[in-house]
């Protein structure tokens, strides 16, 4: 573990990513304390530019809502959606990939055709369809994002399991009378974990991008303030109040960037091939 941390620390980008993410997390936690009022409530005249009034450093939007409050509350939504949808996607993708890779043959064929199907259809369009037909509540947004983002997990896990299951130590476990479930859980998956962790960190980033895109199109939960919604709402006033679109976009960019940087750092620290080369 300490060896892992010292390798991770060597990657300057990853440490910067960790710092940015920590700030975003703090914002998300602090939101209800710093801005106890609903981010939807009108606090001042509309279109108040940033840095003009004390107490409202980022100004107000077209309906006079506090932009800074929106940003803080938006961080909650982004992180929540990113995290939960990734967990759900892992919960779908890992079993499918593990079963396909471990059992092979017909099971593999069937599961992989299924996965391929989901990978082929344009995922963003599918998410739109799902949310257009079902009610766009936060739960459905999370579910829709999970449904379109599990296929890469399944493929990755399948590939890892496939290469691991013919390793001699897995065969030895079979010969020593261990059950298939135990072999998958104890011998195979722990060894497949590093690439899954890396992928998961990148998936959180992608999920945040997806959520913001959906909210931008008006398919987010109408009751929660999110960064994508803020940009979507400010789109029509781009010429007159560009900062209303600009500021939440920067928030998304930094959050996603930080997660990607962390993902790269994890990859470098966990990737056994890279490790071998330096040793």
């Amino acid at each position: 573990m300490s060896a892992f941390w010292s390798r991770f620390r060597q990657n300057r980008g990853a440490v910067i990513g960790l710092v940015i993410l920590a700030i975003v997390i703090i914002c998300a936690i602090a939101a209800p304390f710093l801005f106890p009022r609903s981010p939807w409530s009108m606090v001042q005249r509309p279109f108040l530019p940033p840095f003009e009034m004390e107490g409202l450093p980022l100004g107000t939007d077209a309906l006079g809502r506090d932009v800074l409050s929106g940003l803080f509350h938006g961080a909650r939504v982004s992180l929540l959606v990113g995290l939960v949808s990734t967990v759900v996607a892992l919960a779908i993708g890992i079993p499918i990939g593990a079963l396909a890779g471990y059992y092979g043959g017909l099971v593999d064929d069937a599961l992989m055709r299924f996965t391929e199907f989901f990978q082929t259809i344009p995922s963003f369009a599918l998410a739109i369809v799902l949310l257009a037909i079902f009610q766009p509540t936060l739960a459905y947004v999370i579910l829709a994002i999970a449904i379109v983002s599990w296929p890469p997990v399944a493929r990755l896990v399948r590939g890892e399991v496939l290469s691991l299951r013919n390793r001699e130590f897995v065969e030895a476990a079979t010969l020593s009378g261990q059950s298939n479930l135990r072999i998958i859980l104890r011998q195979v998956l722990p060894n497949a974990l590093p690439p899954i962790i890396v992928l998961a960190s990148l998936m959180v980033a992608t999920a945040i991008l997806l959520e913001s895109s959906l909210s931008f199109l008006g398919l987010g939960d109408p009751n929660v303030m999110s960064w994508g919604y803020m940009i979507g709402a400010a789109r029509t006033v781009l010429r007159t109040a560009w900062w209303l679109s600009f500021i939440p976009g920067v928030a998304i960019l930094l959050t996603v960037l930080s997660l990607n940087l962390i993902g790269e750092g994890l990859n470098d620290a966990l990737n056994p091939r890279l490790r071998k080369r330096t040793s």
Partner: protein, 543 residues
């Protein structure tokens, strides 16, 4: 004056490596027309020395001292462009892995023609004509066809011939061969060695041959250099070094080579412990797409034999002979289509699920690769006790037994709490053997169990197996491609070719007086037999 003079060459490894110098103060010369073998085990620095000659050292590895003099110039001081002009033209090189040494996306002819192109020689039609001639010269069948082929359409031996053809294209003064036959089957190895000998004679090339195999050395070397830990420990005429080694390391290496002597068969008990009848295993691979015919490979056909208590049967054959598949059917990692595998009177060839799980402990396996046969994330203790616990043993009792087993295989019981990466290849293989013994099996199958090990370690592990066999009266099936190893440990031998048992009998009979041409060809291809004869004569003279 020598063609090539290497003087006090040292090669530095990047910081953080296990030692500072890959090669230290190495000096030797290479003369026109001679074959010089550099022998050593893995990590001895033999390949590094060869790569340094070509200016092809891996990134971060640099020559730190000494000189390499060729045609009056020090190669270490040449610029990249000058080195480039030299490569392929004056010095060329062939590598260990024929399967990956060719660009998979380019036709064979184009890859050969590239050599001429690299040195701005000949016109394209002339290059093609020379490529054809070269393919012919290295003995590839149907050069007209081969020149248009892609690498994946050729076998390993054929690809190695292509690589040799490319190396020969510009009639270099020096050919560097880095373990060129290690990845090949023994009969293919013999052919490639013949080819290299033959080409050396015809073109008067000097050959620098890197190998770990003293048998190969004995067959082709004029002079020998033995390396250990990056240093030259012994050098001299091949005959002198092989028959009268002076350095203890050389002597140890030579002693570790299993001799082609046979064991006597053991007394056969009335009841076989394992009985195999008409076992068939056929692989059907659907290569994707609805329109393709599935590929059918008959990996094992009608395998039939009995194994008796305390006996070791060897299964030998080249890659693709089905020997490993047969082993896997016996332990039921594969399910054979037809036939009977009877152990203790019960046919286990078809059973599944819990019934199979109950029977698994009766027949265990020792695997080939000590690096992939132990779960890198499990402690040795877990690895050894998992099976016992799966069969309902109490955890404390299982740990006690595991500690005992570690002692039995010559490891310290403190190994229990350590991870596999803390051990060497040989030690890991001992753990693998302990794991196979843990369940008190009636039969042990060793699948190429010493093939991945350096020769000195191999000898130790073979000794351990022989010792265990005597002490525990083990019955064993020993799968190997190496007839020398088979001769040393097996009572009876099965020779397999393309899925069929072509010969089966006591070792002395199969290896001493083979009945089939195939077995004879395998025996003929074993490197180092002439040396063995010389050694025997020497011993006789001493007596």
């Amino acid at each position: 004056m020598s063609l090539l003079t290497i003087d006090n060459l040292s090669i530095a490894l990047p910081k953080g490596a296990d030692r500072a110098l890959a090669v230290k103060d190495v000096s030797f010369t290479l003369d026109k027309g001679e074959i010089l073998c550099i022998v050593g085990e893995s990590g001895s620095g033999k390949s590094m020395s060869a790569n340094a000659l070509m200016g092809l050292l891996p990134e971060g590895v640099t020559p730190s001292a000494g000189s390499i003099t060729f045609k009056g110039r020090d190669l270490l001081t040449l610029s990249d462009d000058e080195m480039m002009a030299l490569r392929g033209k004056d010095i060329s090189m062939i590598f260990q892995e024929p399967l990956s040494a060719l660009n998979p996306l380019m036709r064979i002819g184009d890859q050969i023609a590239e050599v001429f192109e690299a040195h701005d020689l000949l016109t394209p039609p002339e290059r093609r004509k020379r490529a054809l001639e070269l393919l012919h010269e290295v003995g590839l069948p149907d050069p007209d066809q081969t020149i248009r082929a892609y690498p994946f359409q050729l076998s390993g031996g054929q690809r190695q011939r292509v690589v040799i053809a490319m190396a020969l294209a510009l009639e270099p003064k020096i050919l560097i061969a880095d373990e060129p036959t290690t990845a090949l089957d023994v009969t293919t190895q013999a052919q490639i060695l013949d080819l290299i000998e033959d080409l050396r004679k015809r073109h008067g090339m000097a050959v620098l041959f890197i190998t770990h195999d003293f048998g190969v050395v004995a067959d082709i070397a004029d002079r020998v250099i033995v390396m250990q830990h990056g240093e030259v420990v012994e050098a001299g005429e091949a005959e002198t070094v092989l028959l009268n080694p002076t350095h203890p390391y050389t002597r140890a290496l030579l002693d570790a080579i299993p001799a082609l002597t046979f064991r006597d068969s053991v007394e056969q008990t009335a009841q076989p412990i394992l009985s195999v009848r008409d076992l068939d295993m056929t692989f059907t691979t659907r290569t994707g797409g609805f329109f393709k015919k599935p590929r059918v490979v008959k990996a094992v056909q009608k395998a039939t034999f009995d194994l008796y208590q305390g006996e070791t049967i060897g299964i030998v054959g080249e890659s693709g002979s089905g020997k490993s598949t047969l082993g896997r059917c016996l332990v039921r990692l594969l399910t054979p289509q037809n036939g009977v595998v009877e152990i203790g009177g019960r046919d286990i060839s078809k059973i599944t699920g819990d019934a199979l799980r109950q029977h698994r402990r009766r027949i265990q396996m020792v695997f080939q690769d000590p690096y992939s046969s132990l779960n890198p994330r499990s402690r040795i203790g877990t690895i050894l006790t998992e099976g016992l616990i799966a069969y309902g043993e109490d955890k404390a009792a299982a740990r006690e037994k595991a500690k005992e087993l570690l002692t039995v295989v010559g490891l310290d019981p403190s190994a229990m709490d350590r991870f596999p990466h803390e051990f060497s290849g040989g030690q890991r293989q001992r753990v693998g053997i302990a794991r196979a013994l843990a369940l008190d099996p009636e039969v042990i199958i060793a699948d190429e169990a010493v093939s991945a090990l350096d020769v000195s370690i191999q000898a130790q592990v073979l000794d351990l197996l022989a010792d265990l066999k005597d002490r525990l009266n083990l019955s064993m099936i020993f799968i190997t491609h190496d007839l020398r190893v088979a001769a040393q440990v097996c009572d009876r031998i099965i020779v397999m070719q393309r899925g069929e048992m072509v010969e089966f009998g006591p070792s002395a009979q199969v290896l001493g007086n083979p009945q089939t041409a195939y077995t004879q060809s395998l025996l003929d291809a074993i490197p180092g037999k002439a040396h063995e004869a010389a050694l025997a004569k020497q011993k006789e003279a001493q007596l």
